[in-house]
Symmetry: C2
Subunit: 302 residues, 2 copies
């Protein structure tokens, strides 16, 4: 397995600050590279983070507020400049077609980047490989989708069991593909020489009020990446503007049984994020408060 890692490009909500660019986040997942909600300035943040735009394979957009999508044209133009032969899947709420068209109109790269727009309704969006993707409708202003991304469960081979059963060389590949293999006149089954391995999973929840769909997306994930625009003392603003507080994000992770929580998308009213961290950590652990250009490795498989 290649490395799986999150690179944080920006952590601001609505308005960038001196320290925080508009939202942007890249997930490296084996050979896939997925860009989530590219806000304005994502192209330059990718440069700061030493990420090569031409290696992107997917863009996932939750909704078309500017701070979640205005960076797309610049990223596409950079991809066109560098040249890329990998098609780019762009997933977004189907109601936002006009917005996507406007963004693409501003980045006329048709001949140099193969873009596959994929207007999405709630439900299964992509099947493996390299991952399965599901969308649920969140509770924000404009049509908004949250994402759950995962790999199917698999099996981890046990070298000592393979040795004991006399399986080696090409027979190992046959065993993995077929589920069993004939060795010295006997049938060895995959389950005899391996243990169950839960596939990794990740949910991306923003922007939204507390809702069942967010809970469902986060169910048992290894990593929940969640907006925490406000502190609980501004819960009225969170409710009014359809956002979550740090406490709600932590409750979401706990109730959904997530293994870890990454918070991002912070209001400019909080120059110091220690209160955000404290509020969430009082209710859940482990919590990572994302900062621009952080790299966050995915936790080991359970």
């Amino acid at each position: 397995m290649s490395e799986r890692e999150i690179t944080v490009l920006g952590t601001a909500s609505q308005v960038p600050t001196r320290e925080r660019n508009h939202h942007g986040l890249v997930l490296r997942w084996d050979d896939a590279m997925i860009l989530f909600d590219p806000g304005e300035g994502t192209q330059r943040q990718m440069r700061h983070a030493d990420i090569t735009p031409s290696r992107l394979t997917h863009v996932l957009i939750t909704h078309f507020h500017g701070d979640h999508c205005l960076g797309l044209p610049g990223v596409l133009q950079r991809m066109a400049l560098d040249g890329t032969e990998t098609p780019l899947e762009v997933c977004y709420p189907e109601e936002g077609q006009e917005h996507l068209d406007a963004l693409l109109h501003l980045s006329p790269v048709e001949e140099r980047v193969i873009i596959r727009p994929r207007p999405c309704a709630p439900g299964r969006v992509l099947d493996p490989p390299p991952f399965a993707l599901e969308a649920r409708r969140l509770d924000h202003g404009p049509p908004t989708l949250g994402w759950r991304l995962w790999e199917p469960d698999g099996r981890t081979l046990l070298p000592e069991r393979l040795e004991a059963e006399g399986v080696h060389g090409p027979a190992v590949g046959d065993l993995q593909r077929e589920g069993q293999v004939r060795v010295g006149g006997r049938t060895v089954r995959l389950e005899d020489v391996s243990v169950h391995r839960a596939g990794q999973s990740l949910a991306f929840v923003m922007d939204t009020r507390w809702c069942d769909a967010a809970l469902e997306l986060a169910q048992g994930v290894d990593v929940l990446i969640c907006e925490a625009t406000f502190l609980e003392r501004h819960a009225d603003l969170a409710q009014r503007y359809a956002h979550l507080t740090a406490a709600q994000a932590a409750d979401l992770a706990r109730e959904a049984g997530a293994a870890s929580l990454v918070l991002t998308h912070f209001s400019q009213r909080y120059p110091d994020l220690r209160a955000i961290a404290a509020e969430a950590r009082a209710r859940f652990a482990p919590v990572t408060v994302a900062r621009d250009l952080d790299r966050i490795p995915l936790p080991p498989r359970r």
Copy 2:
């Protein structure tokens, strides 16, 4: 007269670097605040520069390549958020209407920012106050306009001459408005108590190959703000991609009789700009090589 000053927001061409944001420049001109070619990230650069978007009065766009316009939606959204009652004049090449429409579609602020789109052909665009504006067609790929901005010539009153002629109090205002005033039975004419004062002027030339229109725009200006994407050793690239070299920008200033030159819009291939400065200064003075977040006061009136 209020302060007149240039604030540099970004100096990159096409691709931003760690040190240089995409292009952006603000000119404070008395009560007007003019934003030139807002590339991606302009909103955040304005924050770094402590410039308040809601005070903008004009946006001038030379052409619709991404590095000259993708920052507009973010700036408009910030203006809408802060609230503004000053209408915003947006001047751009008339052939770019679809691009402007796409940019405005991505920043739905109609109810909170009064935008006055002004599709421009070459010729006079605005009359004073607060300034006159003229456009000329430059030689780039897409339809591109360069700008010349100036105030009419005026007269500077001489206090000792006013005193000698007995003009004071409200009579001074009458004299300025009417060109003459009756004092103690005599007529005092404005030219008897003042000297000619040349109006300040400024040209903004990007992106373009060397062309007569650029020379005309820059004729005798106080400040020529000019792209210098390449060094002369890459003159072939400049010609191919329709840009100027630092040497050409300096020649433009000299041949046009400009009083000063500000260079910006540098290729990422030059991390160190000293060669740009040296090349231009061998042919013209004074030259300012703009850096992100520089403030450059306009020279005193001649």
